[in-house]
């Protein structure tokens, strides 16, 4: 069975401080990992996925298969980063349902 663990429900950081949102997964196949974000009063939207290796809004995430992690990082938090962040897992290629984590609420303190 596949599982996604986001250990922190709430993460508070000061503006300008580094941010790391943790995501660990359990999956026996070849994983495809995503980070989705939901800003206040907006719908859930893709932030980034590991296969694209992009930096979006200053965020990056590296897939570490040894540690089965896909932590989301940003060197300097901005107030507009305050949102709910969900880590999601599926299979790379072929069909596998998408499993979401419980989500972490990021609160950036001015």
């Amino acid at each position: 069975a596949q599982r996604v663990t986001q250990p922190e429900k709430l993460l508070s950081v000061f503006k300008g401080a580094p941010v790391e949102l943790k995501c660990n997964y359990s999956y026996s196949g070849s994983p495809e990992l995503f980070w989705y974000v939901q800003y206040s009063r907006q719908r859930l939207q893709l932030l980034l996925r590991h296969i694209s290796r992009e930096s979006i809004k200053g965020f990056t995430a590296d897939l570490n298969k040894g540690e089965t992690s896909f932590h989301l990082k940003k060197p300097f938090a901005q107030e507009e980063d305050s949102a709910m962040y969900y880590c999601a897992l599926t299979r790379s290629g072929g069909y596998q349902k998408v499993t979401f984590g419980i989500g972490t609420k990021l609160q950036v303190i001015p």
Binding site: V4, Q6, K9, E32, F34, R43, L44, Q45, L46, R49, Y86, T90, R91, S92, G93, G94, Y95, Q96, K97, V98, T99, F100, G101, I102, G103
Partner: protein, 114 residues
């Protein structure tokens, strides 16, 4: 262009009533997903369509839940004899390809069962 739309946005039902939730995916998107999101939780997979074919319904919690996408576009999630534990936000998402593709989410339907 228009994104994924869902209707109604809010639904209050008395226990035992049947409800129907509608999803309009992005035009041309092959894949359509339904999720249930309880308060304080992440989205939980319910079912997946590829065009009109329902390829996975393993997440439907009981036989009271039924989904269809008869023409490969609009989808309806029906819940019969609603129970209080069905109260949640129901999210619909569509993607151009399969589950490995970016999913575009609708605003959700908040269902409250009294």
């Amino acid at each position: 262009g228009a994104g994924v739309s869902q209707s109604p946005r809010y639904k209050v039902a008395k226990r035992g009533q049947d409800v129907a939730l509608r999803c309009d995916p992005i035009s041309g998107h092959v894949s359509l997903f339904w999720y249930q999101q309880a308060l304080g939780q992440g989205p939980e997979f319910l079912t997946y369509f590829q065009n009109e074919a329902q390829l996975d319904k393993s997440g439907l919690p009981s036989d009271r839940f039924f989904a269809e996408r008869p023409e490969g576009s609009v989808s309806t999630l029906k819940i019969q004899r609603t129970q209080q534990e069905d109260s949640a936000v129901y999210l619909c998402a569509s993607s151009l390809g399969g589950t490995w593709d970016e999913q575009f989410f609708g605003p959700g339907t908040r269902l409250t069962v009294l």
